[in-house]
């Protein structure tokens, strides 16, 4: 019988780390050419359509940024949490929480002076997502309940809260659909570049990358949350208040996901609806892992996914490949990346017995 095991290898030079993402993308595209071929498509035509659809024109490129923005935010949310080993599978729910709060402000806070509406909506949306994330964090630290399960179950809970609101008090008068009234004009994210949908939220997501990078590398909190993730026992030994660290991490993580929800309401839909998110919270998980939990990595991974997602629309239209190839590309790119990262530290050894 043939067996496989891994053995440590000599450290590789640092430049290898830089080409790994590139290599992973390349290998991914090679592997996903297989389903394209099975679907009867011409690989070059398909990939050509993909890249043109995402990057081939001014509008397309800006659209790619638009799509990348919520992915950057949810990716950062999950990465920041995973770094402290807070397994936040609930970014989707935290996004909903942010969207609900943002709509609430955007529709009903008409008494606010216009210039305050956006800041209030953003801050409250952040807090909404953050607070929703503190529930599983509290359950984890004080009651030792597994965070994978609780964060996930709460996604469904808040989904139904949103449903109750949208079929109830927040439902737009006169409509049979679960949608809210439109938010006021002052709550719209301003469009920043003419003849495109490039909006304020995109800038916010870039800023978030920088802020998280700063927190991670320059603050005491960033050091503590990294330590908590690496070795909880040593962190406690060193006097770190690990419960507070996890709680604070949860607030920031949930808040970032909440900001993604704010963006969907304020920039894309301008009202609240049941499918306010096409699964950004879950995609964020893959993006976080693909980016190796580093803010810059997350930003790049988010952009890559956005390229795939936007481009796949064109690829579907032009080359006839079902849009669901996106999920396959996402999954394969993750696994490829993980294996490559592993190979920088270990060699695979085949044994015969």
């Amino acid at each position: 019988m043939i067996g496989m095991s891994i053995v440590k290898r000599k450290p590789l030079p640092p430049w290898v780390m830089l080409i790994i993402p590139v290599a992973a993308v390349f290998v991914t595209l090679l592997i996903t050419a297989i389903p394209i071929l099975i679907a009867g498509g011409n690989v070059f035509k398909a990939y050509g359509a993909l890249f043109h659809g995402a990057l081939g024109s001014r509008f397309n490129l800006l659209e790619t940024f638009v799509k990348a923005s919520p992915l950057i935010l949810t990716g950062l949310a999950v990465a920041f949490a995973f770094r402290a080993k807070f397994w936040n599978i609930g970014a989707e729910g935290q996004l909903f929480a942010g969207a609900i709060i943002a709509s609430w402000v955007g529709i009903y806070f008409t008494w606010l002076p216009s210039f305050l509406v956006l800041p209030v909506m953003i801050i409250f949306g952040f807090l909404g997502g953050g607070l929703w994330a503190t529930i599983p964090a509290f359950l984890k630290t004080k009651l030792k309940v597994d965070d994978v399960v609780t964060t996930l179950l709460l996604n469904y809970v808040i989904l139904h809260i949103m449903g109750a609101l949208l079929f109830g008090p927040m439902q737009m008068p006169g409509s049979a659909w679960p949608r809210s009234a439109s938010i006021m004009d002052a709550a719209f994210y301003p469009m920043l570049i003419a003849r495109s949908r490039f909006h304020l939220g995109i800038i916010i997501s870039f800023a978030a990358v920088l802020v998280i990078w700063f927190i991670n590398s320059k603050t005491v909190f960033g050091y503590q949350s990294k330590g908590v993730g690496i070795n909880l026992n040593a962190a406690k030994f060193g006097g770190i208040n690990t419960n507070m660290v996890i709680l604070k991490t949860a607030i920031i993580s949930g808040g970032l996901a909440g900001l993604a929800g704010v963006g969907e309401v304020a920039a894309i839909h301008h009202h609240l609806m049941m499918d306010v998110s096409p699964g950004y919270g879950y995609t964020g998980i893959v993006i976080a892992m693909l980016g190796n939990l580093h803010p810059i990595g997350v930003a790049l991974a988010a952009f890559f996914f956005s390229v795939i997602s936007v481009g796949a629309q064109t690829m579907s239209r032009v080359a006839g490949i079902p849009i669901y190839i996106v999920g396959i590309i996402e999954g394969v790119s993750l696994m490829t990346m993980l294996i490559f990262i592993l190979l920088t530290e270990y060699k695979i050894r085949w044994t015969k017995s």
Binding site: V7, K8, R9, K10, K218, T219, V220, F221, G222, Y223, Q224, K226, G227, I230, N231, N233, A234, K236, F237, G238, G239, N241, T351, S353
Partner: protein, 507 residues
């Protein structure tokens, strides 16, 4: 061929065995022979390659060079199963038992027979073996209820159940009380009489002289010597083991005790299973002295140290540092009062293995100025602090930015020493500070403790290594089942008396 007496053939022969890990050669062309009915000691300090060599013999590791012969036939082991089939069993340092299962289940694993194991038949076989070799373990007892000595006997039973004729014992006495060690040696002698052979890994010279027939000495991966126990002495073995005169030349410095720096009153601490591990324990530590807490591992030392370090909250009792009551359960509180702490398990509790050396150096100081201010860390200050630590304590490292997991055991401990001692603390609490270290590193740690004492600090040394206790302490107390059995000054202490206390005998 008739009438000729064949030369005794070795049961096991390892010829030129080499084993490599990445760029470290753990075993370098080692030769080893084991004959029937004998106990051979594999002697060497920590890191010499003893366990690795035996793991190769046992089939756990593949060898990179050389060959192995069993009863003259060349063999290749790909897994422990192959070794077991040839009658070789290894009793590891860290027990291979499932604590939540019964004695019977632990013995049976891998040998169950049929798809639906016949537990009754297995129990009968086990009881028969127990009777033959003089064991008294209840097959239905759950493992975590057994004492350490009994668990070790269970490990031996596992081997006998499988028909092992060759037993490899890896540092078996490390976790035993003196009386349990005597029992173990009797068991081993009995086994040898009944036709078994034993390889006894150890770095305890006295024990090797007591139980073994022959000694093979390893040093930095190579076989450097072999001798019959009857033809050698402890000092000779010691110097072979280390390669130089083994006499810890320690500068004992001046000893002058001052005021009380640490006081523990009536401590009662429960461990995470809810069992009382420390029971009404009190002691006083003064500045300028080393108080040794002796005792066999497992008598509450771990829980005592965890309580002192702030990891565990005591049920009852209090501690005072410089007369000030310090609340339990708060590591930051004891750090604030100036306690330097050397934890028992440096990898599990003391270090972030994946982080860099400098990031580990600031574990406790990261909240203070100048390392950080207003929540922001100051990288320049961190580097200068880490630099100071590395130089003051001669940490051998490729710079402060490499992950700490690439450091050797001795250097890991130096990182911890540096972190804790660089600020010249008035109080040092060290728990098993030299566990797993080679002699060179041990000496360094010992000197560091004595230097602290000379500069006026109070040092509490919790250790299961009696040699170390005698070497460093001014006063000694002995822990047994969570209580203090007795207290004596180092001058008046005798090994016998301490040994009795360690076994729970009050005299």
């Amino acid at each position: 061929m008739e009438g000729r007496i064949l030369e005794k053939q070795p049961v096991i022969e390892m010829r030129g065995v080499t084993k490599r890990f990445v760029d470290v050669i753990a075993n370098d062309k080692v030769d080893l022979k084991l004959f029937p009915n004998e106990v051979v000691a594999l002697l060497g300090e920590n890191g010499a390659g003893k366990t690795t060599l035996m793991n190769v013999l046992f089939g756990y590791y593949n060898l990179d060079g050389g060959e192995m012969l069993i009863n003259g036939e060349s063999v290749t082991f790909n897994s422990p199963k192959d070794a077991i089939n040839h009658g070789i069993a290894m009793i590891h340092q860290h027990f291979t038992l499932v604590q939540t299962q019964t004695v019977l289940e632990n013995v049976m694993i891998g040998m169950e027979g049929s798809f639906f194991p016949d537990y009754n038949k297995a129990k009968e076989k086990l009881l028969a073996i127990e009777k033959e070799f003089g064991f008294h373990l209840d097959p239905d007892a759950i493992v975590w209820t057994l004492s350490i000595g009994e668990q070790q006997k269970l490990e031996i039973l596992k081997a006998l159940y499988r028909g092992a004729k060759i037993l490899i014992m890896d540092e078996p006495t490390a976790v035993l009380a003196p009386t349990e060690t005597i029992e173990l040696f009797e068991t081993l002698r009995n086994l040898v009489k009944k036709g078994h052979s034993i390889i006894f890994i150890s770095h305890h010279l006295q024990e090797v002289m007591d139980i073994c027939d022959r000694v093979v000495v390893l040093r930095t991966g190579k076989r450097v010597a072999e001798a019959k126990v009857s033809e050698t002495t402890i000092p000779e073995l010691a110097s072979l083991m280390v390669g130089r005169e083994l006499l810890e030349r320690l500068d004992r410095g001046k000893s002058k005790t001052g005021k009380t720096i640490l006081e523990a009153k009536n401590l009662k601490v429960k461990n995470n299973r809810g069992v009382t591990a420390v029971d009404d324990l009190s002691f006083v530590l003064k500045e300028g002295e080393v108080l040794g807490v002796a005792g066999v591992s497992g008598n509450g030392q771990t829980e005592l140290s965890e309580m002192l370090f702030g990891e565990l909250n005591p049920e009852e009792g209090e501690i005072f540092i410089s007369g000030k009551r310090v609340p339990g359960g708060s590591p930051s509180a004891v750090v604030k009062e100036g306690m330097a702490r050397i934890p028992e398990d440096r990898i599990k509790t003391g270090l972030f293995m994946d982080l860099s050396v400098k990031e580990n150096m600031i574990l406790e100081s990261h909240v203070n100025e100048p390392i950080s201010k207003n929540g922001l860390i100051n990288m320049k200050e961190i580097r200068s602090f880490a630099d100071n630590c590395i130089n003051s304590f001669s940490v051998k490292t490729d710079g402060m930015d490499i992950p700490v997991k690439s450091l050797s055991g001795g250097n890991l401990q130096k990182v911890i020493l540096a972190r804790e001692l660089v600020g010249n603390p008035k109080l040092v609490v060290a728990c098993q500070p030299t566990r797993g270290l080679d002699v060179g590193a041990m000496e360094y740690v010992h000197q560091a403790m004595l230097d602290q004492k000379s500069s006026g600090s109070g040092v509490l040394l919790i250790s299961d290594d009696l040699d170390e206790i005698f070497l460093l302490s001014d006063r000694i107390i002995v822990m047994y089942e969570g209580k203090v059995m007795g207290e004596v000054s180092a001058e008046e202490a005798s090994r016998d008396k301490i040994g009795l206390w360690m076994s729970g005998v009050i005299s």
